[in-house]
Amino acid sequence: MSQLKLQVTKRFAVSIGLLLAIFGLVLQVSPALAAGETDGPDSTSLSIGGIIKDGDVLLEGVQIAVTGDNFDATGTTGVDGRWVVGVPSKGEYRVTLLIETLPEGASLRDPNKITKTVKIDVVNTVNVLFTLNDTTSTTGGPGDKPAEAETNVFLGRLIAGLILGILLAMAAIGLSLIYGTTALNNFAHGEMVTMGALFAFTLNKLMGIDLLISAVLTMMLVAAFGWLQDATIWRPLRKRRVGLTQMMIVSIGLSLVIRYVFQIIYGGDTKVLSQGEIWNIAGVPTQAVNVISAGVGIVILLLVAAFLTKTRIGKATRAVADNASLAAATGIDVERIIRIVWVVAGALTGISGVMLGLFLQASWDMGFSILLLMFAAVTLGGLGTAFGAAVGALVVGLFVELSTLVIPSDLKFAGALVVLILVLLVRPQGILGKAQRIG
């Protein structure tokens, strides 16, 4: 007993050591981190921005003042009509359109809305919209213009929701596979998302490695971390027959540890990962990289589906998720399957983290807010079914983005969680889950 205890203690210490070593490695190869940020929008952590246009004409040289706690800056729109102001910390900012810099004839549709208050909290890039009176449009009556704008807003939310849902799905499947095979509610799963985003930031932005190669490397690193986590923490705890509730609390402790290690290494600000061209998708300007992410995400999801249904290991994984002792009795090496699941889950969550980093920007605590969305997705789909997790993630992604049409955007995550609770009330086994056998 005490021998075992000692061994577990040792493993525990080793695991934490290894964990720190990985971070150390990443840290060491990224000297720029300690030196802080260079300027320019590329490395600005948090930003407020937008596009000013008069009808379809992008306006250049319009100035926007941003003020906050001990902060004052002015942004100017470029040729593309875009302006960006980097801000030092999360919080509330007042954004004022300097009307005198507007070109002749252009004016705000609602002159009272010259100043807007925006909050940077979960999302790190806030777009501020100033609606101008359309002086360029000569066709069409005044009636159909807002309608078109409304369709565009809806389409924009729809596209963003789909992207978020697909990216979320990969991480949620990872969470669901772990839950399915080990029954662990892993509260440290969000940290693997953070890890994906921050490692990609280190490799791509700080070391200048090509984004694609960075993404693949990050995926491998997080997969390795998944294996390491299982080998040093979860497997010894399973061997020791530590209860599931205890394991869950261990995962909470672990998530605190990893999160704050990230804060020490990367600081409390937000790292901007995305930059690049804007594509026009059905009239909605969307960052190209996010569209590509979603496309790659769909391919990965299909591969996972094929892996689970077609390959021997995939089938064994589902057998273990269905009934571990029965699977063991039929000669499946359950521990080996669980190891594989941790690696696969790490890879999926890591790549999801890279893409979510590109989509939402990367910060030390992004994983935790996303964790709850993942739990919502997994629970909605029916605990422990990978396919359900993917469907749940799509529902959550769409709901989060579309809900902003009705509720304030800083409440959009809350909306998704409300839906989670409502679904539990009506259909506790989730959208796709089967009712449970009692007794």
Binding site: V8, T245, I249, V250, G253, Q263, L417
Partner: protein
């Protein structure tokens, strides 16, 4: 570097109102988890309800002190019902997810810019304690002795806070030694066994959720009396600290949460002071003073992991009386 100050500050935490608030919240959580086996990961929400219910009632609706307390408790009961109705019939890990989600929902709602008029948005609320301090029976002056020396206001918060902790401890002691306590302890271990003996398990879980939640709400009020209401304080971190405090002392013991809170805050203050000192005098060079905050959280995380694996019954707990099931 004044080391006596570091130790003085740490010792002063023994009676600080924050320690009292954490102890009170942990007593509530012990009712949930330690005695009934409910996985409540939203204790921060009950505390937030105390804080906002109290402050908003006074600032926006002009309630009296007692009226504001009644509003907070009422809201807390409603919140417990909302949490409990969908989840208490389900497997226990659903309650964990729903409570943590609800706590986050509440935090998003109180910090949204669209409710600035009511909740102060991300700035929070302040200047709501005047009625409480008007009731202060202690004349102006300095009280107690180093390192506990306090002003009359500080003394008043401490007296009220710790009186509440003592009352709550007595209440829990009485309840857990009653037949009611016997039923909830039975539920913690095997709810089907208790059900087969004719007890309405669902109702008992609900009562336990409400009792522990109301204690959390009172803790939330004590927590804000000496400070402002800040929405950022009510994140999941707060819930996990309360869990650490509860597990530290022993989840199924009456004094455990109280001693757990004292140990937690003294250790936290001590590590903070010592690390600050070592950084200042140049012994530690790999950290800046900004990074000491995160180091404390890392220590809490490691402590939580080690505690739950190696000593789940806590400092005082009897292993025979508390096991983690589920």
């Amino acid at each position: 570097m004044d080391w006596s100050l570091v130790f003085g500050n740490a010792v002063a935490e023994l009676i600080s109102p924050t320690t009292a608030a954490y102890a009170l919240a942990a007593i509530g959580l012990a009712v949930h988890f330690g005695y009934t086996g409910l996985l409540n990961f939203g204790q921060a929400a009950f505390m937030a309800i105390g804080a906002y219910g109290f402050a908003v009632s006074i600032l926006n609706f002009g309630f009296s002190f007692w009226g504001a307390i009644a509003v907070s408790i009422g809201l807390s009961i409603v919140f417990a019902l909302i949490l409990g109705i969908p989840t208490l019939r389900l497997r226990s890990d659903y309650l964990a997810i729903v409570t943590i989600a609800s706590a986050e929902i509440l935090r998003y709602v109180v910090s949204t810019t669209s409710m600035v008029g009511l909740t102060g948005g991300s700035n929070g609320l302040s200047a709501f304690g005047f009625q409480f301090y008007d009731m202060n029976p202690f004349p102006a002056g300095n009280y107690l002795f180093w390192p506990f020396d306090v002003t009359e206001k500080e003394l008043w918060v401490r007296v009220v806070g710790w009186a509440l902790v003592i009352l709550a401890s007595l209440l829990v002691l009485v309840m857990m030694r009653s037949p009611w306590g016997r039923v909830v302890k039975g539920i913690r271990e095997d709810e089907d066994a208790v059900r087969s003996l004719g007890k309405n398990v669902y109702a008992y879980k609900m009562q336990s959720l409400i009792l522990g939640g109301v204690l959390g709400t009172l803790a939330g009020i004590i927590f804000i009396l000496p400070r402002a209401v800040q929405p950022a304080n009510y994140g999941t971190g707060l819930t996990f600290f309360i869990w650490t405090v509860m597990l530290l002392g022993g989840a199924a013991t009456v004094l455990g949460p109280v001693v757990g809170s004292m140990v937690f805050w003294v250790l936290l203050s001590l590590t903070d002071g010592i690390l600050q000192g070592l950084v200042n005098i140049g012994v530690i060079t790999f950290l800046t003073t900004d990074q000491i905050g995160p180091v404390r959280f890392i220590l809490i995380g490691l402590g939580l992991m080690a505690l739950v694996v190696f000593r789940p019954q806590g400092i005082f707990g009897n292993k025979k009386e508390l096991q983690f099931n589920v």
